[in-house]
Symmetry: C2
Subunit: 154 residues, 2 copies
C-alpha cells in the first residue's frame, strides 16, 4: 500500500523519516482514513528511551513526517490534484510541538492519527495523536509549509 510519500518527486524522496529512496530511513507512509490521516510504525528494539518504552526523539520524528505527509495530502485535496507518479506537493516543518502524555510502550505497532486544522495557501497546520495499545500516549502539532518544486534540486 502506498503513502503520499511514495508520490514525492525523486529529489524530495530522501528524507530519513519518510523518503522512499532513503534505504537507512524509517520509510514512514501517510494515508487518508476518512477525514483523518494515519501513519503506522513499529519501533525496533534499539528505539529505547528507558527500557520498555519508546524513545521520545523517534516519537517526535514520526509526528514530524506524519505532519508533512498529512499537509501534502491536504494541499493535494484542496487543489484537486490527481496524485499519479511523483506529483505530490512537498512540505517541510516550520514548527513541531510534542507533548508526552504517558510513556509509550516499546513493542506494539504505533498509530499516529492527524486532523487538518488549517490550510492557508502554502501553510498547513496538523494536529496529531499517537496511539499505542489503544491509548493516546503523545499529542502534537505540526506547522508545515510547502517548498518550491525546485528547492534542493541540483
Amino acid at each position: 500500500m502506498k503513502g503520499i510519500q511514495d508520490y514525492y518527486p525523486d529529489h524530495f524522496a530522501h528524507c530519513h523519516g519518510c523518503g522512499r529512496l532513503n534505504e537507512n530511513g524509517l520509510q514512514l507512509k501517510t494515508f487518508w482514513d476518512g477525514e483523518e490521516t494515519v501513519t503506522r510504525f513499529t519501533p525496533g528494539p534499539h528505539h529505547t528511551a528507558i527500557e520498555g518504552f519508546v524513545y521520545g526523539g523517534l516519537l517526535a520524528s514520526i509526528i514530524d513526517c506524519h505532519g508533512t505527509g498529512s499537509a501534502a495530502l491536504a494541499l493535494a485535496r484542496e487543489r484537486g490534484i490527481h496524485i499519479t507518479e511523483f506529483n505530490a506537493p512537498r512540505c517541510v516543518t516550520a514548527s513541531l510541538h510534542v507533548n508526552y502524555k504517558k510513556a509509550t510502550p516499546l513493542g506494539p505497532e504505533l498509530e499516529v492519527r492527524g486532523i487538518i486544522k488549517e490550510v492557508k495557501s502554502r501553510k498547513v497546520i496538523v494536529e496529531a495523536r499517537l496511539i499505542a495499545n489503544g491509548q493516546v500516549c503523545v499529542t502534537g502539532e505540526v506547522v508545515a509549509v510547502e517548498v518550491p518544486e525546485d528547492f534542493g534540486k541540483a
Copy 2:
C-alpha cells in the same frame, strides 16, 4: 570527554539518543560550558531531509536529549550532588517545542547550546538553540521532569 549521560545508572543508560549502553544510538553527550550547556553531533550522510539538509526529526531528537541532559546537570548543581559513577539524576521529556528557523546544512558538526530557564523541584525548563556554521538554524524548548530512581527497573 564524558557527558552527564555517562553518569546515568545502567538501567537509565539505554536511550537511543544518549544512552552509553545503546550501541545503535546517537550517543549524545551534554556538558556545562560556563553558564550554558552544550551537546555536539555530526549527522551521517543518511540523516537527510531534502538533499543537503539535516532531517528535522534528528534535530528534534538532539534537542530532546540535550534538554534532558541539561536538566540532569541543572538538578545536580541545584542539589550539590558530586557526580561520580552512575549517580546522575535522570529526567524524561514532558514537552518538546522545536522551531525550524532555516534549513540546517548536512555536513558540519552541529552544536546545541542550552540555557536553564527554570528549576522547580523535579521540573526543569531548558531553552535550546542549534547552530551550524555559526548560524542558529533551530530553536527549541524542553520541559523535563525527573523520574524516580527505580522507574523502569526490572
